[in-house]
Symmetry: C3
Subunit: 139 residues, 3 copies
């Protein structure tokens, strides 16, 4: 069994910006010539998260609105009072969604549904270049 630690760099705009990682991840899987195993996607940092979604513009907007409603940006956060970052809402959303996602692969293909994409969501309050770790365990 092999352990392969790879990564992507993704430029984001923040404010719930959602990026489809699926084609890049699938390419990496092929390049490492692994057939069966487990892929863990992990985003270092405390203002972004990963999940899956049917990546189409309507849902991208729906999910962004949902996050704005559930953890609003226009209410006071203690984080902002202490540190003046103005991104308390970003942190709360990121902790809620979580930084890691594990996807099995088999026969050289990710076990995703047909309408299911792996996405990075950047909740921060400005543009960032995000490192995303792709950790493969398999053979």
């Amino acid at each position: 069994m092999k352990i392969i630690n790879d990564s992507l760099t993704i430029s984001t705009e923040g404010f719930n910006d959602m990026k489809d990682l699926t084609p890049l991840v699938a390419e990496k899987l092929i390049s490492h010539r692994l057939q069966d195993g487990l892929l863990t996607i992990f985003v270092p940092g405390s203002t972004a998260g990963v999940t899956t979604i049917e990546y189409e513009p309507g849902l991208v907007e729906d999910f962004s609105r949902f996050m704005e409603k559930v953890a609003p940006s226009n209410v006071p956060y203690n984080h902002d009072r202490r540190w003046g970052d103005g991104n308390g809402f970003s942190h709360v959303r990121a902790s809620l969604l979580g930084p890691s996602l594990s996807v099995p692969f088999s026969g050289g293909r990710l076990s995703l549904g047909m309408w299911q994409q792996i996405v990075l969501v950047d909740f921060d309050n400005g543009p960032r270049d995000r490192a995303v770790i792709l950790h493969f365990l398999g053979e």
Copy 2:
């Protein structure tokens, strides 16, 4: 170390239908004769999720009500306007909960708490037969 890719098929009713997978998963673990390792439960598809809960009828209802409150089915979704699926709420809930869960096992047993069950939650707006992947890494 072995990699074993197995699966379950679960019939669900949608609308937050929650199914206890624990006995089926425990049976699979025994049948593969693994002692120590990591199990990843992954649901392909973008309208269902997995988590753990104390699986009793009161909480099953509480969790369903919570999801209805936090991501209501009776508000407009852009997904529905574009595609007419009527299940925008299902997608948002599924992306929030997430499609994967990892549970260590040791001495041939899942490391769950006594009142903690592994559950599939189907958020879609109708009945489905769901594939659930059980990915074992262990020995």
Copy 3:
């Protein structure tokens, strides 16, 4: 490749009590002399969860308030009506956040961001001694 099943015991106060596990986890990683692999943090039990956050007092409070708002403790739960535990809210929050988190490590170090800590959140309605499983797959 090695499979190492370790654990921590963490005393908590409940009511969203959040504990930073990062220094303890980093110590365990060093003690097992692993360089590359995947760590899964799993909390047995149905009233606690794990995630990452920038662990500073402002955000700890923000996250607690967020959880109180999204799944309030002062509304009726069917779980409480049936079992009289009074912790229906704890269960709902725990199922939402999830009991597992996977963090890759490389060169003997966890792949966390600089301001990103691994935390246990105990949602129960009283003090507990919590077991937290640290499951290492690596070499």
